[in-house]
């Protein structure tokens, strides 16, 4: 029992600690532009689950390739997908009837 839990315990505690950091960051007066910083502890938590619980490091090259491909293509989607909206000059027609 102890042999099983002991290596996983730091992962769990680390996650809770990062969670506390994340929650704390949310109440800092960061402003709109830096609000994205909150995602840093979240990214660390994702990494911790990936390597701690899902044991990404222990799988073979194929599984790691698949995981890497997922992250790469996610970045392509987010990067190229936000390029247009972020650089667009919008002249909105604000006549909108909000229900």
């Amino acid at each position: 029992m102890r042999q099983v839990v002991r290596p996983l315990l730091p992962v769990w505690l680390g996650l809770l600690a990062l969670f506390a950091v994340e929650l704390g960051t949310a109440f800092l007066p960061l402003g709109h532009a830096f609000a994205g910083l909150i995602l840093l502890p979240a990214a660390a938590m994702v990494g911790l689950v990936g390597f701690g619980f899902m044991r990404l490091g222990r799988y073979g090259a194929i599984a790691r390739c698949f995981a890497l491909a997922a992250v790469f293509w996610l970045l392509v989607l987010l990067g190229l997908g936000s390029m247009d909206p972020f650089t667009r000059t919008e002249y909105p027609v604000r006549v909108t009837t909000y229900p």
């Binding site: 002249y91 909105p92 027609v93 604000r94 006549v95 909108t96 009837t97 909000y98």
Partner: protein
């Protein structure tokens, strides 16, 4: 069968030159591909007794050099196309602005002089025209093949498209983005007239009530004049003027201070948060629809939002009126 398409704008021959270059390149490549295929297929058919000899050694250098050459050619074509395209996004400052509203399934156009047309657009030759286009429902596409131009017309925002027509005549206007049942009938004519003809057309077109004139009526009808003054000269001790007859009365019966609109267009406006904005079309539009977002310094935000209260067409007219107050009142 007429296989030629008129080049009726300054942009058209330039685009055609690019298409021509692409066509030449394509024909050269096709000739190479089909030529080699035919040559090999005949020369090396199974029954042919030609001596094949040994296979040539594969040369990486050959593959890499022709790939690099193709890359260079493609990069040149890319720059050429991009250069023309970028110019489509830079309307000259003196371009005449015409509003286009697309809806299922018609095109409505409004000239600065208030002339309105449906499914037809008269434009003068050799003058830059900028179209400010929006849609009332779905996405449409304003396409004029003779100008080699098109641009999607979206609901909720303005798209701009500019051109300089140079050959008088009548050309097709198509909706190129599928927009529902009668998409194929959302067509019209672009009529390019020479300068004098166009002026004659403007003069002869009935109901050519000035946009700004209509706007003035609406300015009163929507109650704007109540606070901003009957001729936009501002409320009590507004920065512009304090004519007693223009004192507005709020619905509660009190006197309301509202900024003067005379001379507003194009001038810098100090805001309550300390920043300064230039009063352009967009600022005026936003101030009508979202008065609370940019409050003029030393005024309070008491104006109600007109979002949802005023139609797009009316808004265009009110803005035209306010613009006409631009240089110190209307002439």
């Amino acid at each position: 069968m007429n296989l030629s398409l008129p080049e009726a704008s300054a942009n058209a021959p330039e685009t055609d030159a690019l298409i021509g270059a692409l066509l030449l390149l394509s024909l050269a490549v096709l000739a190479l591909v089909f030529g080699l295929m035919l040559l090999y297929v005949i020369r090396y058919r199974a029954g042919s007794r030609i001596d094949r000899g040994k296979l040539a050694e594969k040369s990486w250098r050959f593959e890499i050099s022709w790939t690099a050459a193709t890359l260079v050619i493609f990069f040149g074509l890319f720059l050429w196309g991009a250069d023309l395209y970028v110019r489509l996004f830079e309307p000259p400052a003196d371009a005449e602005k015409i509003y286009i509203i697309g809806k299922q399934w018609m095109w409505k156009a409004e000239h600065p002089g208030g002339q309105r047309e449906i499914d037809t657009l008269h434009v003068p030759a050799n003058r830059p025209i900028e179209l400010l286009m929006t849609s009332e429902d779905v996405i449409h596409d304003f396409s004029v093949p003779a100008f080699r131009l098109k641009r999607d017309v979206l609901p909720g925002r303005y798209e701009s498209l500019w051109f300089r027509a140079d050959t008088p005549g009548t050309y097709h206007l198509f909706c190129d983005q599928f927009c529902g049942t009668d998409h194929a009938r959302m067509v019209g004519d672009i009529i390019v007239l020479s300068g004098p003809d166009f002026r004659r057309w403007l003069a002869e077109t009935p109901s050519s009530e000035d946009l700004a004139d209509q706007g003035q009526d609406l300015f009163i009808r929507y109650g704007c004049s109540g606070c901003h003054g009957g001729n936009g000269a501002g409320g009590l001790s507004g920065p512009g003027g304090t004519a007693p007859e223009s004192l507005g009365r709020s619905p509660q019966g009190g006197t309301v201070r509202a900024p003067s609109l005379v001379g507003l267009y194009g001038s810098p406006v100090p805001l309550s948060d300390g920043s300064v904005v230039i009063a352009d079309d967009r600022y005026i539009r936003d101030s009508i629809l979202e008065p609370g977002s940019q409050i003029v310094a030393s005024f309070q935000n008491v104006m109600p939002s007109f979002a949802g209260q005023i139609s797009e067409e009316d808004l265009v007219k009110v803005i035209a009126y306010i613009k006409s107050l631009g240089a110190g009142g209307r002439s």
